[in-house]
Symmetry: C2
Subunit: 204 residues, 2 copies
């Protein structure tokens, strides 16, 4: 594409436009129904495969998108969070993340989440490669960012969140990543992609 942004754009990474449905569809949908409605809606489709075999597939439809953000402060510290995750019954070290609201751009969603979850504002934003967290079961797409030169202030947690802000030197964040101490996969991948930019800027 001639009009796609340079790598390092704040608004979009060059791989984002590729995170869409293919033109050719090898599986044929024979019928579809929602198992239940709501935030976590699961569909059950009856499908025919290229082999002619028919089967049933339960999955989460495309639609939900979430943003991830690694804020780095003006003095070069990484800002992570420790968040209690009820499905795991565990507190997990993560980067800032949250859903994209209707009508909101990915960049504005990420900036809103950084402000709410860690009180971070401003900075230079860099879009990183997007990805699918669980293609076997889910149509969800995740869009990560790095934010450089962020200023920290007050947080504004939702009352259904249990979040602690963790500020630590970038080398320590990357030591944790390599050791497997950041148990959240999408956060780990955000850190991985951010590293190239941090190294290029001499911050790591």
């Amino acid at each position: 594409m001639s009009d796609r942004p340079e790598s390092g754009s704040a608004d979009m990474h060059p791989n984002w436009p590729a995170l869409v449905e293919d033109t050719a569809q090898p599986w044929e949908t024979l019928s579809t129904r929602l198992m239940f409605e709501g935030m976590r809606a699961i569909s059950e489709d009856h499908v025919r495969l290229p082999s002619g075999v028919e089967t049933t597939y339960q999955y989460r439809r495309r639609g939900p998108r979430a943003v991830f953000a690694l804020p780095v402060t003006t003095d070069g510290q990484a800002v992570l969070i420790r968040q209690y995750r009820y499905p795991l019954r565990a507190t997990v070290t993560e980067v800032v993340a949250g859903g994209v609201e209707a009508g909101e751009s990915f960049l504005l969603a990420a900036q809103r989440e950084v402000a709410e979850e860690v009180g971070g504002r401003g900075g230079e934003w860099v879009a990183l490669p997007g990805f699918y967290p669980q293609p076997s079961i889910s149509g969800v797409v995740f869009y990560p960012f790095l934010a450089l030169g962020v200023t920290l202030g007050d947080m504004a947690h939702e009352d259904t969140e249990t979040i602690e802000r963790v500020i630590l030197p970038l080398p320590e964040a990357y030591r944790m990543l390599e050791a497997g101490e950041i148990h959240d996969g999408p956060s780990s991948l955000t850190l991985f992609h951010a590293r190239r930019v941090l190294e290029a800027r001499g911050l790591l």
Copy 2:
């Protein structure tokens, strides 16, 4: 723990024992029910948060575990797959992956999937850091491996899989990773963790 294995063990990475429920639980479960049964079962719990707020949380329970594996051939080529993923309506580049069957070790599950999906056998296996693919919604845990010196033979795909084997030089696999051309997040993270081992062995 004094009995945890060295990094580089075939059976388990040192972070795997940490991927469990915490002892302290800040949220109290008031009631729980299954929205529906089956492979993709979703629970809906009524919970009380530390703030006293009560809310409802829909999620996938802990229990399902999946293994991921990057096989590298005896001549130093990466073996990836291209797999049609119905929830995304897209064919996605991934590493080999699959669910752990009852009574099966993670290592044996990974070796079975490598044999089935790409016809890979033998090799030296290295366990990599495990992770949660989607803590906000799911209790699923993913366990990745690197397999060095694998021999390729015939494949045995399940008739509900649409899989193509992709053999490519390791530097090309890592170029794709950095460019965001491997859209599957867990596969990307498997490649990231495998790189340290490949570099230490002089394979990359």
